[in-house]
Structures are given as structure tokens and as C-alpha cells.
Symmetry: C2
Subunit: 192 residues, 2 copies
Amino acid sequence: MARPLSFDPKQKLHQAMLLFWRNGYEGTSINALINELEINRFSLYSQFGDKHQLYLKVLEHYNTVVYQPLLEPLRNGPIGKTAIDNYLENFGKKVSAPHAAHGCLIQSTMMAGENVEVEFKEVLTKRVKELRALLRTNLQAAKDQNQLSMPVKECLDFTLMTINALIMARKSQGKEVLSQNVKFFRKTIQNW
Amino acid sequence: MARPLSFDPKQKLHQAMLLFWRNGYEGTSINALINELEINRFSLYSQFGDKHQLYLKVLEHYNTVVYQPLLEPLRNGPIGKTAIDNYLENFGKKVSAPHAAHGCLIQSTMMAGENVEVEFKEVLTKRVKELRALLRTNLQAAKDQNQLSMPVKECLDFTLMTINALIMARKSQGKEVLSQNVKFFRKTIQNW
DNA sequence: TAAGTTTCAAACCGTTCGGTTAGTAATACT
DNA sequence: AGTATTACTAACCGAACGGTTTGAAACTTA
């Protein structure tokens, strides 16, 4: 019983995600958003709330369309070392895609300075813990199958760190170095 | 033949470095600087130039007092795997210090969004290349001494990446995880 | 077609940003 | 003591920030 929206909110949210992904939270101004999304200032606010709320929605969107699909090999299929190897193989492929050239939105938000609001980090801590739990499960399975001589905790922390590093290498050094490092890491894990 | 400065420029530069280190370039406002350094707005400008110039001086200061000392084990003393091991051992100790809790100023500047000016990254590329060259020299020496079965380039890229990761882990997960990961990485390298 | 509802564009809000411009206070040299 | 030089304080600048208000335009329903 009223005027319909002249844009698709899902699509605009996606565009907002891409912009935040490129420039970060503080680095993305409202003006930049309304230019990129090509919607009015007021429309942005009435549809998504203020910048803080918008960013929470962006993080949620990122989680569903980017992050969770990456975890799939850790959730289903073979477990143990194979699961992690499959994860890394898939990771290397996906993260070579051009839109991943700016690293990981979750990671860069977590690493942002003290000015960036704590609520974001609180939300994202869940995501990190999730990945950590999945890796632990599979490393423990590997241990139980005698595929692992090193302690599970040490492998876990190092693996988590290396995944962060790979994503960063993608950003700073490009996809060639990324895929080489992924391959190298996969070989390394076999020696654990 | 005139009124002398009421502050020590070196000390103020150091304070500025610590503030930028914590909050990044964009995250540090001029107001924040004059509050932290306890000098007047005009004094800041007349002493250090604008924000851009100040940051270049801060990066230079960081390089001399923080970064270069870390490279020492790669420059002097035994070469080959031992040099890298010594470097990592020293790295783990130094980076456990409280002021390193915010990661590496060089790294976070390099990883900053597109809004941060390119000149900073140009300056810092030299620093990264420097570290890379030192690592390559020592890895090549290790290869020549038959201490290395993996290809030098692969080891080099992975090592560089891991150093970045360690610094990040220091920031996000604290010094305990850092030192555990350093230890783990040192063990890993022995198997290369 | 008229009432009611909601989106739209654009002007506007106070605040903070990086940077500058006076005018005054303090020192050194003659 | 007088003068030149410099650092100092503090007010000020336009631009951009995140966010809000207003009134007209566009649509649905009755």
C-alpha cells in the first residue's frame, strides 16, 4: 500500500560488503557508500540503520556467502588430516578469485585499531572459535589415527596462524605466492 | 639566538610512534597527537611538518629503533639455518615485550586500506625487500651446506609469510601463543 | 479518483578533521 | 637595555565526517 523500493536491498548489501572489504570500516565513509551503492543517503539509513548496524549486517552477509562455504570440507567428508588438506586445497582455489584480493573481512576487522568498536570483534570471535573448533576436531582425529606425531595444541595454533598468514599473503603478494604457500603448507602438515 | 624549544623532539617523536603504532595512520588524529605528546598544535606542525611528513619520520624512527635491531642475527654471526634460528629466537623474545603488543608498524601500514597514501608503502617496500634478501642469503647458504632439501624460493616465501603471521598472532592472541608458535616454527624449519 | 503510506532527493545539523594565521611571550646577541 | 629571532597560545579556516529533517514524488488500496 505504498511506494515500493527502487533498489534490491540484498544486492546493495553485497555492494556495501565489497566496499568495506576493500577499505575497512573507518576507511569507508557514508558518502563513499552512497556513491558506490547509488542510493540516497536517507535510503541507506532507513534501509540499513546507521553505519554501525550496516556493518554488522555486512559481517553477517560475509559470513554466509564467503566464510561458511570455506569451512565445508572441515564439516563434511573425510575427517583427520585429509579434511584439513581438502580444506586448504579448496581454500587456495577460492581465495585466488579476484574479489578476495583484499584479504579477509573478518580478519582485517579483528586486526583493526582500538578505535574500531568492540562489538564487531565480539561477533567475529565466534567465527574464529568456530574455525578453531573444526580444526581441533580434525587434528584430534588425526592424532587418534596415529597420523600426527606433534602435539595437537601446537599444530592447532600454528595452523590457525598460518591460515591467517595465507590470507594476508593473498592481499599483499598476490595469488601466485598464495597458492605456492598453500602447497608448501600442505606438504609441511604431512610431516607432522 | 632565540627562544629554545620547551620539549625534546626525539622524545616526542618516540611518543608519536607509539600512538601511531597503537591506532594506525588514519586512526590517529592530530588532536590525539597533541594530547598524547602534550605539545601545542602549532608546535607539532612547525617541528614535524604535516601529518604525512610526521608519519614518514615516525616510520624512519621505527626502522632504526625497532626493526633494524631485529635483523642483526641475520647480518652477523653464523650463517645458514643457524642464522635464521637465532633470528627467530631473538624475535620471539623481543616481540614478547609489552610495547610490541600492537603488532608491527611496518606490517600494519603495508596492509592498510587503499586510502592510506602510497608513499608510505613505497618506503616500506624497501624494508621488506631487505628482510627478504637477508633470509634468502641464509637459506641459500643452508642449501649450499646441504641443510635444506626443499627449494629455496618456497622456503623463503613461506618463512617471510610466517614471520608476518607471528607478528599478527602476537597482536591478536598474546605473547604465549606467539612464543609457542615461534618454537613450533623453529622445529619445523629443522625438517626442511 | 482520493486517501494513506512510504520512498525519494536535497538541504541541513553539530562535530571533528587536517592545517593556518595572527598576536604574544621568551630567549640570545649586541 | 634594546632588538631580532624564535616558540608559544589560541582562535580560526574550509572540508568532510556521521546522522537528521523536510517536503515533494510515487505508489497501493479503497
